[in-house]
Symmetry: C2
Subunit: 308 residues, 2 copies
Amino acid sequence: MKVCIIGCGSIGSLYAAHLARVADVYAFVRRPEHAQALNAEGIRVSGTHEFSVRLRAACDPCELPAFDLGIVCTKATQTREAVAPVAHLFRQGAVISAQNGLGSEEIIAGLTGGYVIRGTTFMSGTRHSDTHVQYELDTATWLGPFEATNTPFALVREAADLIMASGLKAEALEDARPAQWSKLIFNASVNSAAALTGLPHCRQFSDESGPSSLGHLLHALIDEGKRVAAALDIAWHEDPWKMNCLGAETDHPPSMLYDVKNHLATEIDFLSGAIVREAKHAGVPALLHEAMWRLVKGKEASWTLPAS
Amino acid sequence: MKVCIIGCGSIGSLYAAHLARVADVYAFVRRPEHAQALNAEGIRVSGTHEFSVRLRAACDPCELPAFDLGIVCTKATQTREAVAPVAHLFRQGAVISAQNGLGSEEIIAGLTGGYVIRGTTFMSGTRHSDTHVQYELDTATWLGPFEATNTPFALVREAADLIMASGLKAEALEDARPAQWSKLIFNASVNSAAALTGLPHCRQFSDESGPSSLGHLLHALIDEGKRVAAALDIAWHEDPWKMNCLGAETDHPPSMLYDVKNHLATEIDFLSGAIVREAKHAGVPALLHEAMWRLVKGKEASWTLPAS
């Protein structure tokens, strides 16, 4: 089975390394030196799992064959530019979006014309170099058919089986939207609050002891997200508030905090922005996610100002 | 007439210099070198008005007489520590709060036991040194009785007349709350948005061209503030949305943007926090100001983290 991992950050490197043990894996990456390093050294996984593996990598689509399965692991903001050059290689195959938020599936489907699978992962890792990734949270990837491409459930199950055979956790779901929305609501709330306050995911996010405590805002954002999901007839799979309370013990810096500190485009359009768009479709308000969306967009705009 | 200016930042320096031309003015300041410089050199005003004037200054309350009038010009966060040491000098006099937001009047009244006057000013200046301030916006100080101290309107008028005699603009109002709330709603909305986005008061604040445009948030914050004022039977004096649209042409950095860049305590409790408290009294929601309050408090908390 030929598998292509599109984007090899920490999540992409984890999929690539594990799957290379059970399938014919190619990594499609942006930087030539990244492809060279992967071809020369393979990937070393440390932490929760420990092994090294060889695989093929390319930054030129001409070097790649047609694939049975793709996993897109770029930031949601990079989906179009990453998938477009290789889209023709997935006409007969299926592509999983393992990305944050909502909206990447639509972009991928528009580019490949093939089957798309909704993927939501809670795996986490730390990327130490182009060829070394540390595996941390050993949690499942939830997979389900993307409705608009009528992806057969058998295909979803096949992808889940392959991921499990590689040593990672996966779960095939008839409807992956509850899982995706649980993570969407969690991610939109926690990432935007971290980006605007400068705080990592810390105790303040679950603190509701005083009237100005940040935990009240997180609670209100999560409740608002749940109301939007309910209006779309989507139940949540895991409670985002409980996910927030657990995460608040970790002091983990959410990716959007890294982005704003480094003046990188954030995924806010695919997180808070996606909740606002879905709320509009459903005809319900999303006042708070709308506020967070506009504030983070304003923050992005501030980077273009002359330094003061 | 003996007048004490408490706090000589740009606004305090402007009041001190102008009033020293028509009254016996003392400046009460925190830093000994500031008092020494003022005693040695007086204050030079440049810009809209041009003059130099002598006055007395002290950082030791023992060097100060009893006063007929005080004007508190510190940041709202510093009201208590600034007024407490000299509070006994105002038992027979009146004290104007020329500070941002709501809540300083209550603190001053609790300390002095004398009359308090609500003051709201739109004057602006740039402080070039301890003894040189540039006068910019030549706009009125709105004055009115603080209800809780039953301040006679004659006293308010007397204070306004003195300020006008000094060359500044002032207006005595039977009820200064509409003026104060106009500036409160404007200030709470613009300052918190600037602090969280990192943007100065620029075009984005009035831009409502796209769904994620920041202007929508400013409009919603201002409308929410107006609804709180209406629930308290307070009409606004000038429309804060129009004030925002005018200000958005200036690229002026709001004071809270300066505070967050320099990791200084902000006035958020006296701005967004005050709107939230008043909304609670009135029994109406203030979801957005509550969100801004909690986000800025979270931002303040982030400064105590180890640098990353």
